[in-house]
């Protein structure tokens, strides 16, 4: 349990870091150059680590199924949807909806035991827990400028912008 949570936490921090790097790229290029470069770098890194760790075994694809070769396209669908969502809703709301949607679908996939995932039966505590996390996301995304006088050091820009 603790190992899984630690790995998930590490992964989340790195996602946050990568989002910043990607946005730096996006400021100077466009979304498809950014996406292509990010995925290309991701491939190069995974492939290199794979070669170091596994050597020639990296090319042994025992148990390969055809759909594995297409799953990377999901990432492209995500980029398109995200860009469209942000254009229509603005980043804050779009990202909140996206995060809550991720949670909802993860719960659905766990419950159904989809794609050979260990099935985890739905229970009241899982539903309540998920709703509480979703509420936390909504609170996080609330503009603290409304709570005048409670701002933190780094928020100085926030209120003066208004």
């Amino acid at each position: 349990m603790l190992m899984g949570i630690t790995l998930a936490f590490l992964s989340g921090v790195l996602v946050g870091l990568q989002n910043i790097f990607n946005s730096k790229l996006g400021e100077r290029t466009n979304i498809w150059i950014t996406t292509t470069l990010v995925l290309g770098m991701g491939f190069a890194a995974s492939f290199t680590i794979g070669l170091v760790v596994e050597g020639g075994d990296l090319f042994v694809l025992k148990g390969m199924q055809t759909w594995y070769g297409f799953s990377g396209i999901i990432g492209v669908v995500v980029v398109v949807s995200m860009v469209q969502g942000i254009q229509r809703l603005g980043p804050t709301f779009a990202v909140s909806v996206m995060m809550v949607s991720q949670l909802g679908f993860a719960l659905l996939f766990d419950t159904l035991g989809w794609l050979g995932l260990a099935q985890i039966p739905i229970s009241p505590s899982r539903v309540v827990g998920l709703l509480v996390v979703a509420a936390g996301i909504a609170i996080f995304k609330t503009d603290p400028g409304r709570l005048r006088g409670l701002k933190l050091r780094g928020a100085k820009q926030g209120i003066t912008n208004k």
Binding site: A8, G16, Q18, G42, R126, G136, A138, L147
Partner: protein, 141 residues
């Protein structure tokens, strides 16, 4: 409404991608899976880029090399994510990933790292993180 549908689709896609990666990793191995999904995504994205042919490369050189190489982090992100989903399931993994991501964003804003233009942060963000952590505890009951 359309915007909501797009945002929901993006979220569903991210969740689906996580479990697909975990499944493919079990099938052919972690690094094989990470390499394959990134490669197919890269080829698809490159094809779109070439078809659109809009240019936009001119200012790529102005981006710091470390930011240009940021995509490499995905190797670690994907492998850690696969292992986490296998160990604690998709729901708790997604919840913890989101909290870590928001906590990191908060720290970046608070300390002004990476010269990111400050977004609004304050007590609502701390409260939000607290509520999310409570949610994870309830989820893992």
């Amino acid at each position: 409404m359309k915007g909501i549908m797009f945002a929901l689709t993006a979220g569903a896609g991210i969740a689906l991608q996580g479990i697909a990666n975990a499944r493919i990793g079990q099938g052919i191995g972690t690094w094989q899976a990470a390499s394959m999904t990134q490669l197919t995504g890269f080829v698809t994205s490159l094809a779109i880029l070439l078809i659109l042919g809009r240019g936009g490369w001119r200012r790529l050189g102005e981006v710091k090399p470390v930011y240009r190489a940021g995509g490499a982090l995905a190797a670690l992100i994907i492998s850690a994510n696969m292992a986490a989903i296998g160990a604690i399931g998709a729901t708790v993994t997604v919840a913890v990933v989101l909290i870590a991501q928001l906590m990191f964003t908060f720290a970046v804003d608070l300390f002004g790292w990476f010269s990111v233009a400050g977004t609004r942060i304050g007590w609502t963000q701390i409260a939000g993180i607290g509520v999310m952590v409570a949610g994870i505890l309830i989820l893992s009951l």
